[in-house]
C-alpha cells in the first residue's frame, strides 16, 4: 500500500513544534499557516489540472475517467499549458493563479526547450513560485510487475527550489560559463525536517543523506551538516541517520537497492536518483510523486518524463498519474476514495491480464483505465 501522507492538521502542528525548537538555532522558521485545505464548496473540492505535454492528455484523461466512475467529489479546473508555446502565452499564468486559489493541483510534465533563447522550465517555475520545496517520490516494487530487483521500497525526498536549479548562469568571458549552485541553511533545514517528519509519521526507520561533500565541501557540506543537526533532534524517536556519497549511492542502488529507506538530497542528485529509482521498479509509468510546500501541494508523476515519443499512441501507462492522484486524495482527506482507487490499480496490475507496453504487454491506456474502473 502506498504510504499515506497526512498533511493537513498534523503538519501545521509539526510546524508549531518546529517554531519552538528553532528558537535555539538562529534560523528563522516561517510562521505556521492555517490548515492546508483546498477550496471546498458543498463537500466538493476544486483542483487545478494541468495535463502537460507528451502523454499528459492521455494519462490525465485516465484519471478523470476513474474519478468519475468512483464518484470522487473533485471538480477539475483544467489548463492546457504547453511547454512548446512561445513566451507571451497567458495560459501558464492563469494556471498558476488557479493553483494559488485552489491550493492543490494535479499535473503532467511540461516540456522545456533546450535553447537559452526560449523560456525556462515551467515545471521549475511553478515549484519555485509557489515554494513547493519538497519533492516526494515513492519507489516501490508493485506486486504483479516483477523487475530485476525485488523488495525495493524507498522514498526520495528532494529539495525542490534551490541547489543546481537556481537558474543563475552567465557567460563571464566568451566561451567561459559559470552556473551557480546555491545552498542555504534555511532551505536545507526545512527539507531535512520534512524528511524526518515523514519518516516519523510513516514508520520509516532510517534517513540517508545523499551528497558530494567530499568535493563540494562548502555547499554539500552545509547541506550534510544541517541534516546531521536536525537528525539529533529525532534521535530519541529511533530514526537512524546516515549519509552516503552520491556516486557510491548510485552504485549501491543498482546492486543492492533494498538497503535504502528514506533518502534526502539536494536538487540535482534528486533528479538522478529518482530516475534510477524509477528504472529499478519498472519505469516512469509507475512511480508517483508530489511537490509539497507550506501552502500548496501539487501532484505529478515522480519520474518527470514528457514522453513525447509515445504521445498520441494510447500506449502510455497511466499508473504513475493515477497513484499521484491517489496521493492527492489522501492529502485532501478523502482516504476512502484513495484506498478504493489504489486497490483497483493494484488488482489490475496483479492479475496481469492488462499490461501496457512498458510493462511488457500490448494493452492500451484506455484498456488499462477500463480495467481499473471495472475493479473499483
Amino acid at each position: 500500500m502506498l504510504h499515506s501522507i497526512p498533511l493537513s492538521e498534523p503538519l501545521a502542528a509539526t510546524f508549531s513544534k518546529v517554531g519552538l525548537r528553532a528558537t535555539s538555532t538562529s534560523t528563522i522558521v516561517p510562521q505556521p499557516q492555517d490548515q492546508i485545505h483546498s477550496s471546498k464548496l458543498g463537500g466538493r473540492y476544486t483542483v487545478t489540472l494541468i495535463p502537460g505535454d507528451g502523454v499528459g492528455q492521455e494519462i490525465a484523461a485516465a484519471v478523470k475517467t476513474i474519478f468519475k466512475a468512483a464518484n470522487v467529489p473533485v471538480d477539475w479546473e483544467q489548463f492546457d499549458v504547453s511547454g512548446y508555446t512561445s513566451a507571451g502565452d497567458n495560459t501558464f499564468q492563469q494556471s498558476v493563479e488557479s493553483l494559488r486559489r485552489n491550493k492543490v493541483g494535479l499535473k503532467g510534465i511540461l516540456y522545456t526547450p533546450v535553447s537559452s533563447l526560449d523560456h525556462s522550465s515551467f515545471n521549475v517555475t511553478i515549484r519555485k513560485d509557489l515554494d513547493m520545496y519538497a519533492s516526494l517520490v515513492l519507489c516501490k516494487n508493485i506486486p504483479g510487475y516483477p523487475t530485476r530487483h525485488e523488495g525495493v521500497d524507498f522514498v526520495i525526498i528532494r529539495e525542490n527550489t534551490e541547489g543546481e536549479y537556481s537558474g543563475l548562469e552567465h557567460e563571464s568571458y566568451p566561451g567561459v560559463v559559470e552556473s551557480l549552485k546555491v545552498v542555504t541553511r534555511i532551505k536545507s533545514e526545512r527539507i531535512a525536517r520534512f524528511a524526518f517528519d515523514f519518516a516519523l509519521r510513516n514508520n520509516r526507520k532510517k534517513v540517508t543523506c545523499i551528497h558530494k561533500a567530499n568535493i563540494m565541501k562548502l555547499a554539500d557540506g552545509l547541506f550534510l551538516d544541517t541534516c546531521r543537526e536536525v537528525s539529533k533532534e529525532y534521535a530519541s524517536s529511533g530514526i537512524k541517520f546516515d549519509d552516503m556519497i552520491v556516486d557510491n549511492a548510485s552504485m549501491q542502488l543498482v546492486s543492492k537497492p533494498q538497503q535504502f529507506d528514506v533518502m534526502v538530497m539536494p536538487n540535482l542528485y534528486g533528479n538522478i536518483v529518482s530516475n534510477i529509482g524509477a528504472g529499478l521498479v519498472g519505469g516512469p509509468g509507475i512511480v508517483p510523486g508530489s511537490n509539497i510546500g507550506r501552502e500548496y501541494a501539487m501532484f505529478e508523476p515522480g519520474c518527470r518524463h514528457v514522453g513525447k515519443d509515445i504521445q498520441g499512441r494510447n500506449t502510455a501507462n497511466p499508473s504513475a498519474m493515477i497513484f499521484s492522484s491517489v496521493m492527492m486524495l489522501r492529502h485532501l482527506g478523502l482516504d476512502d476514495h484513495a484506498n478504493k482507487i489504489a486497490n483497483a490499480v493494484f488488482k489490475t496490475i496483479l492479475t496481469g491480464a492488462i499490461k501496457t507496453p512498458d510493462m511488457g504487454g500490448s494493452s492500451t491506456t484506455t484498456d488499462f483505465t477500463s480495467a481499473v474502473v471495472s475493479n473499483l
Binding site: 543546481e164 541553511r185 552504485m251 534510477i276
Partner: protein, 378 residues
C-alpha cells in the same frame, strides 16, 4: 607523410617529443595529432618505459601480478616504479619530484589504489596529479564480465567524462552566513578537448557513435555550452554519428536496459560522469572489475579505482583484475593492441572458467594462483 605529421605534433608543444620516429601502427598514428596521445619512443632496449605507481594496501601485490603477466606475455615495456607518498617540500606537503619527473618523461603511468591521508593539510593526491598533468578526460569502459554474475548481463558501456572543471571546480564561498554558492564552470576549450577525445576514441574502437549526456534544458548556458561544443567537434568527424541525451533519460535507460548504449561512447561533464560511471561499475559488479584511464595533455595515467583494502593487504588475497584491465586500456592507448587483446582475453577466460577465482569473485584462490592461471592462458 609521417615526417609532416610528426612536425605537426611537435608544433603542438607536447613536451616529451623527440625527433626520432617511433615504430607505430597506423591507428596510433592518427591519434598522435590529438593532444594527450601517446608519443614516447622506445628506449635503448627497444622497450617503452612506463611509470608504475604501486600505491598502498593491496597496491604492491596487484602491481606485481601485472608485472609478472606482462613479462610472461613478452610485452615490450620496462617499468619504473615510483612512490607518490607525500613528502615535505619547502614546508608544504607535495608529491615527490622523482615521481612527477618520471611520469612527465614517460608520459604514461599505471597507478594502484592510494590511501587517502586523514587530516587537513594533505593535498588530495588525485587532484594534484590531475592538475599537474592536465588530465582532462576520464575513460571508464564497463563490460559485463562472464563468470561474475550480476543482475545485468549485457552491459557494454563506455563513458568519457570531462575531468577538470564542471561542478568539481572547487570554487565555493559563503556569501552571507547560511548561504553558500558553488560555481559550476564550463568552458568551450575544456569541452572541445574532451569531446575531441571522445570522437577519436569512438572512431578508433569502431563504435562510431558519440552520445552527449546533459541537462541543457535546465542549465541552458553551462550544459548548453557543453552540448554546443560537442556538436561543433562532431562536424570534424562526419563518419561518427552524434546524438544527445537528457541526463534523466540516460539514468533511466542505463538502469532499465544498458544494452542500448553498447554501440556508442557517452561523453558528459564532470559530475554526471562521476555518478554515471560509478553506476555503470555497479552494474557489472563494482569497482573491483572496472578499469579507468585518465587522459592528459602531458601524460596519461591509468588506474585501479577501487580502495586499498587494508584488511586483506599482504595476504595474497587481492584481485588484480581492475588494475589488469586498466593496463589493457593503457596498452591500447600506446598502440600495443595485440598484447592488449591477448592479456584481456586470458583474464576473461580465467574468470569465465570459474575454477581459479579470488575471494571477491566468489572463489578461494590466492592472487598468485589467479595470476598464474592467467599466465598459462596467454
Amino acid at each position: 607523410m609521417f615526417a609532416a605529421t610528426r612536425a605537426a605534433v611537435a608544433l603542438q608543444g607536447v613536451k616529451s617529443l623527440s625527433a626520432k620516429t617511433a615504430v607505430r601502427t597506423m591507428a596510433s598514428q592518427a591519434a598522435s595529432t590529438m593532444p594527450g596521445a601517446f608519443n614516447s619512443k622506445k628506449n635503448a632496449n627497444g622497450n617503452y618505459t612506463v611509470t608504475l605507481i604501486p600505491g598502498d594496501g593491496i597496491g604492491p601485490e596487484i602491481s606485481e601480478s601485472v608485472v609478472k603477466i606482462y613479462k610472461a606475455a613478452g610485452v615490450p615495456i620496462e617499468w619504473e616504479p615510483v612512490s607518490v607518498t607525500p613528502v615535505l617540500k619547502n614546508g608544504k606537503v607535495a608529491i615527490p619530484d622523482e615521481a612527477l619527473h618520471s611520469v612527465k618523461k614517460n608520459t604514461v603511468a599505471l597507478k594502484g589504489p592510494l590511501a587517502t591521508p586523514i587530516g587537513k593539510g594533505h593535498v588530495s593526491l588525485n587532484l594534484t596529479l590531475r592538475r599537474t598533468f592536465n588530465l582532462y578526460a576520464n575513460v571508464r569502459p564497463c563490460k559485463s564480465v562472464v563468470g561474475y554474475k550480476t543482475l545485468y548481463d549485457n552491459v557494454d558501456t563506455v563513458l568519457i567524462r570531462e575531468n577538470t572543471e564542471g561542478e568539481y571546480s572547487g570554487i565555493e564561498h559563503e556569501v552571507v552566513d547560511g548561504v553558500v554558492q558553488s560555481i559550476k564552470l564550463i568552458t568551450k576549450d575544456a569541452s572541445n578537448r574532451c569531446a575531441r577525445y571522445a570522437f577519436n576514441y569512438a572512431k578508433e574502437t569502431g563504435r562510431n557513435r558519440v552520445t552527449a549526456v546533459h541537462k541543457a534544458n535546465i542549465m541552458k548556458l553551462s550544459d548548453g555550452l557543453f552540448l554546443a561544443s560537442c556538436q561543433e567537434v562532431a562536424r570534424e568527424f562526419p563518419e561518427v554519428k552524434f546524438d544527445d541525451l537528457m541526463l534523466d533519460r540516460a539514468c533511466l535507460q542505463i538502469v532499465q536496459d544498458p544494452s542500448v548504449f553498447a554501440d556508442t561512447v557517452m561523453v558528459m561533464p564532470n559530475l554526471y560522469g562521476d555518478i554515471l560511471s560509478d553506476m555503470s561499475a555497479g552494474l557489472i559488479g563494482g569497482l573491483g572489475l572496472t578499469p579507468s584511464g585518465n587522459i592528459g595533455r602531458d601524460a596519461s595515467i591509468f588506474e585501479a579505482v577501487h580502495g586499498t583494502a587494508p584488511d586483506i593487504a599482504g595476504q595474497d588475497k587481492a584481485n588484480p583484475t581492475a588494475l589488469l584491465f586498466s593496463s589493457v586500456l593503457m596498452l591500447r592507448h600506446m598502440g600495443l593492441n595485440q598484447y592488449a587483446d591477448q592479456i584481456e582475453r586470458a583474464t576473461l577466460k580465467v574468470i569465465a572458467d570459474g575454477k581459479v577465482l579470488t575471494g571477491d569473485l566468489g572463489g578461494r584462490s590466492t592472487n598468485t594462483e589467479f595470476t598464474n592461471a592467467i599466465i598459462s592462458e596467454l
